[in-house]
Symmetry: C2
Subunit: 409 residues, 2 copies
Amino acid sequence: MDHLVTQVEENVNWLSSIGADPTGGISRLLYDENWLIAQKGLEEKFSEIGLKTSFDEVGNLFGRIEGSKYPTETIMSGSHVDTVVNGGSLDGQFGIIAAYLAVKYLLETHGQPLRSLEVISMAEEEGSRFPYAFWGSKNIWGLAKKEEVIDAADAEGVAFVDAMHKSGFDFRTTDEIRKDIKAFVEIHIEQGNVLETIGKPIGIVNNIVGQKRYTIKLDGEANHAGTTPMSYRKDAIYGYSKMVSQAIDKANKAGDPLVLTFGHVEVVPNTVNVVPGQVTFTMDCRHTDADALQAFTKEIEADMKATAAEHGLAIDIDLWMDEQPVPMSEEIVQALVAACDEKELDYNLMHSGAGHDSQIFAQFVPTAMLFVPSIAGISHNPAEATELPDLVEGLKALIASLYKLAYED
Amino acid sequence: MDHLVTQVEENVNWLSSIGADPTGGISRLLYDENWLIAQKGLEEKFSEIGLKTSFDEVGNLFGRIEGSKYPTETIMSGSHVDTVVNGGSLDGQFGIIAAYLAVKYLLETHGQPLRSLEVISMAEEEGSRFPYAFWGSKNIWGLAKKEEVIDAADAEGVAFVDAMHKSGFDFRTTDEIRKDIKAFVEIHIEQGNVLETIGKPIGIVNNIVGQKRYTIKLDGEANHAGTTPMSYRKDAIYGYSKMVSQAIDKANKAGDPLVLTFGHVEVVPNTVNVVPGQVTFTMDCRHTDADALQAFTKEIEADMKATAAEHGLAIDIDLWMDEQPVPMSEEIVQALVAACDEKELDYNLMHSGAGHDSQIFAQFVPTAMLFVPSIAGISHNPAEATELPDLVEGLKALIASLYKLAYED
């Protein structure tokens, strides 16, 4: 299987060149020129290995080989073709390349599968050009609504509809969804540092976290830093620092898989010699268990209200994102585990802390994911990278998994 | 003394009209057109009540009446004529008006004093036009150096030297300082909320705080908020929140007159779904006692280093301002206390949390200050205000004080 190394390298390099920007990153956004070149290029590659290709109305690309025994049962693999602005060379597109190379290898090695095999290159997942994420997978499953994007425009003012039409695509005309897909397996970079830290090349994902995002605003009193005694203050940054340190202490105590992040903060007036009168900050909390996520965030919300009252601060808590955890299919996870065990591939059973197309698929069809390590956990950045041998191990795991799902009776 | 109410109101309104901006604030900056109009207008007022007026080389204005018995002993009062950009109607200029009205009242009521009396309108204190504060008082005491401002320019690129020359002033040609000043008394708004909170119209200032200002930089690791387990993080905002909450807890415990402020913070990358990799923040600490200030800040510095180490963060602590506390003259403070007691004026003995010209004078001559309340502690803002009756009580305290110092044998 040594030629897999060359094939992974060549194909990643080829796809990365489409939309490459001068900083070494890739900007290939939904319906832009390079996006279309990439989809057309992939269509050609899929055809070359004997797959029957097709686009759906919105631009998702499919490459299919019929199963010899169970043609109406489809095993699908792939990911999204779009990148973030100035993104890396693996997020999304590695999942397409790996699926394509896995199917290529399986056809070359084992011939026609018992079940139909399909490679998918999804139109969009990142929400980087227009304010809408999962456009590809949500269309496949009838979740995307025309009215959600009809008024959307990109940063340059180009209307979503105009960009779509210009690239030759249009809204779906039916809400019909496919009944033939028996398994969806997506391979993706981890975008975290767990695999690297524990030294494993493969992750088998059994859950995608739910997440809640908040914006919290504290109102105190801006005062002179020299002339206002401590006991007369309503210091918003004091309240903030109590809330953040106490909440993260609790998150550490709760332990995996809970994560809690206070990523953004804005202080008014933000001046060395003025007691901060106002602090606005975000909280991002994730967990694989919906009840645990709810219980933890409720506790933190109550803590924050108590701390605000104690410090004489007004508090406004706005929950603006509330996504449920999505468990992967136990059946497919076990198939992936068995495939890796049989091939003696070293894996870690884990959850995903980031969102993926698989969380849309998992609501409709048996789904699981494979991860490969991200060097230093870096992603959405030109420095995004995975050691080539790890990419190949991931590909081998995908080959073994698709073999088990599509070739075994 | 009822006519004092009218006189305070009229004179504050008159001086506030010179440099008034459309927002209700005042912008009268060193050597600008309105600054010169104000100094010339004050010179005329000083002359009208029989004071001999003079400017020194840099533009400090003096109005003097010789003492009948001790003409070589001068009792001086006044403050600075410049404002901050978009400042209020009392900071600085009330101290000039009050000194002028006090001397006017004393001459009208008691005739020539035993000691010489001098009203001063200082050129500059705020550092609002050029990056140099206390230009007026530092020149009087030989502390201002030509080389410190020779390359300075304002925000519009006007050179300090050109602005000075245009208004008719120049550098001092000698370092000689006056030996005749036996007392300096400055009346100023509090710029804090202590007097308002305790309901007293007058503060007698016995100390001006020392202050240390720091910029502290924490370096951790920016990571994905979803895919990085809590135990793998080097979260700079977590360390920051621990440092701030612990330090303010200690400051509260230490109690008055210590104050501690974390006014400014900057987070990188400051994004909802990224663990903060870098936090840069300021710390401002003030105390009336140099040893206590030093001991407290040393302890906080050690705490911050320990917290940084505990959280895997690199820390850089930069102390960029280190001003010593300036005690007021015990003798003059007692004279002010006696004057207020005799006139049954209600005062609070207190320190100043902000810097004033008096801290320069106090290094050379017996000095003390009087405060009047600031409504809601607001200053350096068009909303800066003091109830008129409180301004008058302050003026009465200044009259009683100058009487005691200049008229009693």
